[in-house]
Symmetry: C2
Subunit: 326 residues, 2 copies
């Protein structure tokens, strides 16, 4: 008997993560390819198709057949047309019919979702959100993704192609410019980009850097993990941008809990690796801003699936498209 | 045959509105009594019980029987215990077992809800929210109430006794103090109290008042409707506080739409009578802050049930308790 599998892919601002996933949500094989905000839609599609073909070949190598693909992409999605409508962090994908092209090239059903929604499906079914009916999800990466799980299901709102976009909730009116074009979004304070930009700005203004040796900065090469490393070493500027990040997340989650009447959040994404540097400020901020709920009742968890959450969630969405799973 | 009726009551910061409602949601009889933030819980309960008894008497007068009562109260509610947990605008009600006392005194099933949630049920079933599956509700009164209707039902979240508290979403971190104890809540910019306080503050600083004659102010007697009247007469200070109100509502609704992926809102409450003075700023603010959705797709409606929305919704909740209606 041929085993049935699906492909789950997370197209992020930096990497593309793919996985072959069985009907029980187990990853059979996975891989990672570089992407980048500078890639044209056509080139991203070409790499995606290539990736899917090699996964399909691998599947047939051990007697399995790929039945569908699920695609998670950062940004606002038109799920019917399989098109990226607006992606602040993959701007060259705007308007590109990525899913449609994949569908044609692979002759497979392809479902496309927002990447943070994939995170929500993955963590809800197999991770930190299991057995929690209502929760708010945040993915901290190049940008800040968000999702809502309500009544045990990913909430899709009016099916406008976006929902749970907590990263673009405005936390500081007129504040820092965001990749989306607005000012003061959570993403402008809590993303990997915000950490790097905030740190470089502070360093450039010549603010006193106490306790660590002066070091030459190569702005183009500084990544969020460098800022994290510096914070761990005690750099006060690096610590300050992480504190600001925690403050902004605490405020945004407090607002979400107040509006939704819920008390659980799950935070994932690569930049959540800096947890130790922002958790304290997050907890203080949540308590400072909460009046309708007891801050002590709030439960903020880290995601447990790591980088697998989004490709797994995309795969589960593909399985669902095929009639498997809730 | 005896006709069955229920009582619906809205206990607001200023008035108590009661209605006898039939199973189809028609108001058979209604009345209004003064309440006030200064009233002790015991005195409020006494007035409520008296009101219910006279409505019951009236019902029996035309051959009908009262089967239950629904109670809408501003604030966080413990629905199981029938207790007001925390009410920023009826502070003396905090902790008071209002529903339990009513239940005992009247020997009737009594259901207690947040007053803005009653507005949500009323407008959803019989008003501006009919046929709109997902919408955000705001009630502008002494404070700012909020509710969410999701999938055609009032959203109650984790049943923590509050949900949809958009009035306590923080729109300006560290901003104006709010009755709830936090700073910068929507309510601190968009409530009747905020209008009056903002206007009096501006007038007291001696800011130039152009275009109208100087008038003696009696701060204790100024109400939101007076600020509205002054705005209609062209008073720039009054107009400014209404503009600020519209700006804050536009920002809060933009955040709600971005997080929920929905595009409809219904605004009610007595202070929504100032619609002409804040709508323009609201629309501008919504467009300025929206990036995930097209501001042109957003639909902001006024409630159509007026002061009847909350007592009607409370009555519908009582009918539901009895097994009538969805």
């Amino acid at each position: 008997m041929t085993e049935d599998l699906v492909i789950g892919i997370d197209v992020g601002g930096t990497n593309m993560r793919s996985a072959l996933v069985d009907p029980r949500g187990r990853i059979v094989l996975q891989s990672r390819t570089a992407t980048g905000a500078w890639l044209e839609g056509r080139e991203t599609a070409r790499r995606l198709i290539e990736e899917c073909r090699s996964l399909r070949l691998a599947a047939s190598g051990f007697g399995a057949a790929v039945r569908a693909a699920g695609l998670g992409v950062a940004g606002r999605i038109d799920p019917r047309e399989g098109r990226v409508v607006f992606s602040p962090n993959l701007p060259r994908m705007n308007g590109y019919p990525l899913a449609a092209e994949l569908r044609t090239a692979l002759d497979l059903p392809v479902v496309m979702l927002n990447d943070a929604d994939c995170f929500g499906i993955g963590e809800s079914r197999l991770g930190a959100g299991r057995s929690i009916p209502n929760w708010v999800g945040l993915t901290l990466g190049t940008g800040v993704g968000g999702c809502l799980v309500l009544d045990n299901h990913l909430w899709t709102g009016d099916n406008l192609g976006f929902a749970g976009e907590i990263g673009h909730m405005i936390v500081v009116p007129g504040g820092r410019p965001c990749a989306c074009g607005a000012r003061g979004c959570l993403e402008a304070y809590a993303s990997g980009r915000a950490l790097v930009e905030g740190f470089l700005e502070a360093a450039a203004t010549g603010a006193p850097v106490a306790g660590i040796e002066q070091r030459p900065l190569e702005p183009a090469k500084v990544a969020a993990r460098d800022v994290h490393r510096l914070a761990l070493q005690g750099d006060p500027l690096a610590r300050e941008v992480f504190r600001r990040m925690g403050w902004a997340i605490g405020l945004a989650l407090s607002n979400c809990f107040t509006v939704l009447g819920v008390r659980h959040a799950v935070i994932g994404g690569g930049v959540s690796a800096g947890w130790d540097q922002f958790e304290g400020a997050l907890v203080v901020s949540l308590a400072e801003h909460a009046t309708m709920f007891e801050a002590a009742d709030a439960v903020i968890r880290r995601g447990v699936l790591g980088d697998d959450a989004a490709p797994l969630g995309a795969a589960l969405a593909a399985w669902r498209q095929l009639g498997h799973g809730a």
